[in-house]
């Protein structure tokens, strides 16, 4: 009568010194067999119930004691009121299309050589300009037009060609950068065209709370896409400065931090770690390198059972003898 693997008599494992493929195959067969030794009582549902109660007490208890973070959002209004000079300077770069968003490349703009690449690999360009952002139109002129603000200045702006528009806006942005405290009121006189009036008008609309709705409304009344607002906020220095103060930026392990004293996404520690390594964090393509590294490490983790050396670590560093200490004590 033929016998299946399950029917065969038990096979004591080879002595530890007996390595090689035969011993490895024997170990694999044994580990896959049905246990025929002593069993202990086990109640799955009882364990689950006890687990739920214990975890429930922990979760509800900590939630009641520690609560959760809820740092209020900032918006264009709070930015305009808290840091008007930064707002005007940023609006000038949006008009001149020299801001971070304007020069970002895909998926927001078509700026050439702006993508992160790794040799010939240019994943960022694959999408093309799938989320088109025209910073001058989306952040400044369209909202002003919608709010009927600075109409004469807008007419002057519209009548000029794009070269002239860029010249005005960039001259003004430079002048603000050189003005005492970056105060737009203290810039040296120059050829700025309608830009000072437009940016001042935009600031006034932001401060009275109309600009948030005007920009958000570009996507319709039910717009739940905050890309434009968030990119505009990020082009200034007010928003990143607030994040820096909360230790949330990439070079502060910010990926795993949370506002206040709450734990954040601590499981992202390795992702965040690579940005702290100067040789990686300082690269122009750091994001692509880190994502690639983490993707590779995740695949390696999943495939540990197939990787010689890695899969042998538990045998070489016998922490399993602590885990199964009762079993090994009886051996």
């Amino acid at each position: 009568m033929s016998r299946t693997i399950e029917d065969r008599p038990t096979v004591p494992p080879a002595a530890p010194s007996k390595g090689g493929p035969v011993a490895a195959r024997r170990r694999a067969l044994l580990a896959g067999r049905q246990w025929k030794g002593k069993e202990r009582e086990y109640d799955l549902f009882k364990e689950l119930t006890v687990g739920v109660i214990v975890v429930g007490v922990l979760v509800v208890g900590v939630a009641a004691i520690a609560g959760s973070p809820d740092e209020p959002t900032i918006n264009l209004q709070s930015w305009g009121n808290a840091s008007p000079f930064d707002f005007v300077a940023t609006a000038s770069t949006e008009l001149g299309k020299t801001s971070s968003t304007a020069t970002y490349g895909p998926p927001y703009s078509t700026t050439t050589d702006a993508t992160q690449t790794l040799g010939p690999i240019d994943l960022q360009s694959l999408s093309g300009r799938r989320i088109p952002i025209d910073t001058a139109a989306d952040f400044v002129t369209t909202p002003l037009r919608k709010l009927h603000s600075e109409i004469p200045a807008l007419a002057t702006w519209d009548a000029a060609d794009s070269t002239q528009q860029a010249k005005w806006a960039n001259s003004y942005a430079d002048a603000i950068g050189k003005a005492p405290q970056g105060d737009p009121a203290k810039v040296k006189s120059g050829s700025y065209g309608p830009v000072p009036a437009m940016t001042a008008g935009l600031l006034a609309e932001a401060q009275r709370g109309a600009l948030d709705g005007a920009i958000q409304g570009e996507g319709g009344i039910f717009n739940t896409d905050y890309t434009r607002t968030i990119l505009f906020l990020g082009d200034g220095s007010y928003f990143p400065d607030l994040a820096t103060a909360q230790h949330l930026t990439g070079d502060q392990w910010g990926m795993m931090n949370e506002t206040g004293n709450f734990p954040g996404q601590s499981w992202l520690w390795l992702f965040s770690f690579w940005y702290q390594v100067p040789a990686i964090g300082g690269l122009a393509n750091a994001d692509l390198v880190v994502v690639g590294l983490m993707g590779l490490l995740t695949v390696l983790l999943a495939l540990v059972p197939f990787i010689p050396g890695l899969r042998s670590l538990p045998r070489l560093i016998p922490l399993h003898k602590l885990i199964w200490r009762d079993y090994y004590r009886r051996r």
Binding site: A28, E39, A64, E71, S127, L268, R330
Partner: protein, 240 residues
């Protein structure tokens, strides 16, 4: 016209059922009979605190789902406006923190137990995949907190996603898109993968200690049977 098959005396209705449903039922019952699916005993070596953490992760997941459902019923702004809502949000947050705490310890424990042995590779892989998908699910949760942190994460995280070519389709600044990922797509993915993982654990059983026999024969006070002694000799000869 119905095609009625007459069964022979030797055939039981269950064995003779060649329908897809019948074949599937037999396949499932063969691999996962009820006593394996819902066991009331475990091998004697299943005696360690490390086994608690897998169950802890599942219990935490239960609290994540329940608190998430309550938050969903009330909408994303509720927790800003109500003390009860804030408390439920806190339960949701801390469930997630405990979920990852338990899951990471569970995973490290399984690594040092080399728990992929004995045809359990897929169990290990589904565990790693559930960890990875859970990270994305939690990440979208942080994006839809509708507070300062979510604003900043949306701004900062876009760079890594855009650089890797994902950001154009997975736009972290698009609240509506992230909200749907967080409350529907990713929880569904986590639940499916965790369910697969648990079923695989039940199918293959708990991995035995390294170099353990499939019985108590190696333990002190337990004498090997004559057949085991012969097999031991054969195995040593084959290794030499």
């Amino acid at each position: 016209m119905s095609d009625t098959k007459i069964l022979s005396d030797a055939e039981t209705p269950a064995e003779a059922d060649r329908s897809w449903t019948g074949r599937t039922r037999r396949w499932v019952l063969k691999r996962l009979p009820p006593d394996k699916l819902l066991p009331n005993t475990q091998p004697s070596y299943v005696a360690s605190w490390i086994y608690v953490f897998g169950m802890g992760a599942i219990a935490s997941l239960l609290f994540i789902i329940v608190s998430g459902v309550v938050l969903s019923l009330n909408g994303p702004m509720w927790y800003h406006l109500s003390s009860v809502g804030h408390f439920v949000n806190s339960v949701h947050l801390w469930s997630v923190e405990f979920f990852f705490f338990f899951m990471v310890i569970h995973m490290w424990g399984k690594f040092w137990m080399a728990a992929w042995r004995g045809h359990r590779v897929l169990t290990w892989i589904t565990g790693v995949v559930s960890f990875a998908v859970s990270i994305v699910a939690a990440f979208t949760g942080y994006l839809v907190q509708t507070n300062f942190d979510s604003e900043w994460i949306a701004f900062q995280a876009k760079d890594a996603l855009n650089a890797s070519g994902i950001g154009a389709w997975f736009n972290v600044a698009n609240f509506g898109q992230m909200f749907m990922w967080h409350i529907l797509l990713l929880p569904a993915a986590v639940l499916v993968i965790v369910a697969m993982h648990v079923v695989l654990v039940r199918v293959h059983g708990v991995v035995p200690p390294l170099d353990a026999d499939d019985s108590d024969s190696q333990l002190a006070g337990v004498q090997p049977t004559p057949v085991q002694l012969i097999d031991q000799e054969v195995s040593h000869v084959s290794n030499d």
